[in-house]
Subunit: 334 residues, 2 copies
């Protein structure tokens, strides 16, 4: 591995993605990617008695699917990197407890899929592990109660608000597999002073712009080298802001850009306002659509840039701004 800049690196012998699992809830099943998810649950409680347990079960299902596809058992994994939005990342703890895999908990808010992928690839590349997994999830009902209002309150949603996906994704990293992790970039915390928790897209767009500008500067890559650029859940508002911010700096990525928050749902048909969000949103799009298309040769090289809003309900109530972050992974067909 060699550094290309601060927090930007290139894998000399790219680690591979051996398999992945994508799961979703009822709304995700009814969306445009419903048929591309490995498993969906019409009962979004997954038969559990709390939303937290339901979200934990999403992680368990996603990792089980990824392991099953690779014909691996949990003991074949040396490490799992996982995180989620819930306080103290309890979906990851309880969802992955039974696997008994060495575990390093991550917190990157909705950027977690990219973050776990980066560190999992680094762990495999370093020789510390033969195989590692990267897992994340979110659940609409658990997130609403924790970050906003209890569902029973029936609050109105702002047009700029996004819909937390009930979904999870899991990736198995190894030295074999059809997709390779070629480059990585760890994002910086960027805070332009956005204070509206119903407008996460605006809070995260500056971080995505910072990451993309840093990436193209450090690598000297041309946008023409990529078949697509996926941001993780900027939604409609944040996506437009991102393209504007990049345009101001002379970088036009509009023909490449897609947003996981706009792919997971049909905004005309589904009441998700500015689009999807939550760790599970970009995770499900990565594992349900992007990785299978790379494996099939439909894409040769893409950028996956998951974005996160680093707020807590406490800091929000205290009047703090909402810093954002965006981690980037360059993926290619092996």
């Amino acid at each position: 591995m060699r550094p290309l800049g601060r927090g930007v690196w290139q894998f000399s012998l790219p680690p591979r993605i051996l398999s992945q699992g994508a799961v979703g809830g009822r709304r995700e099943a009814a969306g445009p990617l419903g048929g591309e998810l490995d498993q969906t649950f019409q009962d979004t409680s997954l038969g559990k008695v709390t939303w937290e347990q339901a979200e934990a079960a999403l992680q368990e299902e996603a990792l089980s699917l990824a392991l099953h596809k690779a014909r691996l058992a949990p003991e074949d994994l040396d490490l799992v990197l996982a995180g989620d939005l819930l306080n103290q990342c309890v979906s990851s703890t309880f969802g992955l407890l039974s696997f008994q895999i060495p575990f390093l908990g991550q917190y990157g808010a909705c950027s977690t899929m990219a973050q776990t992928l980066l560190l999992g690839a680094m762990a495999v590349d370093s020789g510390a592990c033969e195989r590692a997994a990267a897992v994340t999830s979110s659940h609409f009902c658990a997130a609403e109660r924790q970050f906003r209002l209890p569902l029973e309150y029936g609050g109105q949603r702002s047009p700029t608000a996004q819909w937390t996906a009930t979904a999870a994704g899991a990736v198995v990293l190894s030295r074999e597999g059809p997709v390779q992790v070629e480059r990585g970039l760890a994002g910086r915390i960027v805070d332009l002073g956005i204070r509206d928790p119903a407008n996460m897209g605006a809070a995260m767009a500056p971080a995505a712009a910072d990451t993309l500008l840093r990436f193209f500067q450090a690598t000297g890559a041309s946008p023409a080298e990529y078949d697509a650029l996926f941001t993780g859940d900027l939604g409609a508002v944040g996506s437009q802001l991102l393209l504007e911010l990049l345009g101001e700096r002379g970088l036009d990525l509009s023909s490449l850009h897609q947003d996981c928050g706009l792919l997971l749902y049909d905004r005309d048909r589904q009441d998700v306002h500015s689009g999807g969000s939550g760790c599970g949103c970009s995770a499900a799009v990565l594992c349900g659509r992007i990785l299978p298309r790379l494996a099939a040769g439909e894409y040769r090289r893409v950028l996956f840039c998951a974005t996160g809003a680093l707020l807590s309900p406490t800091t929000q109530q205290q009047g703090a701004s909402i810093p954002g972050i965006c981690h980037l992974v360059q993926l290619g067909r092996a």
Copy 2:
């Protein structure tokens, strides 16, 4: 680097610890390690208007001290790995925001210092970074309100309860420095069904035992190779349980064992019940005592095993058990 077992690895060319910073509050200043911390604050609000901001300032101070000692500027760091106990790890976000260093947020509860050290060392070893920092913190007042009761309630504390340290630690990892990171182990989530949130030591001791048994089995090392073994905040109750659990498996580490939760305070003089806890506890002991003693040659080789209890107030109120985790770092004089 080469793997020694599942989630256990040995650095072929050990990354170094270049410098560290340890800060604490009033109670930590009055404890046995008061003179070994780089900076202490009699006003534990650090002049801020919220406890969350005060905790963020502890991280900022700790990293500033570590940078100052190494004569480095924030832009000399390629990556910072940090986490804390607060919901969505906001002390790390807001404490490290101004440094503008590529950031990967971690969640390992009170095991965070070991976890960030492991991944920071891996990042330097892999060649992704020239220099990385590992940072964590906790604050008694922020943690009490979030996990237990508002301070104003004046609740009685159980004799098995531990005192969350108001403290932070920061380490700069590099290819140079007096201390080296020789081996690492990522812990597994261990759950023996403890449900008493006022007895974290009991919840974490089984994880510490699992980690130490795995480590000695994977490495074939003898306890005689080490000058000391530091567990991170098991306290009096958890420390005794750890030695009992290890004894049942034929491993006697009683002559090596010290616990950061028992080192930071004087339990006879200070009202901390079973001992200290919180991410900042083992971080301050590592950065204030262990690393300086390694650098001075007073220790040649030690094991640092920070432990974490992976609960949230929500899962606790829902009646869930408290899983524990323990990550291990083998440190030696370079």
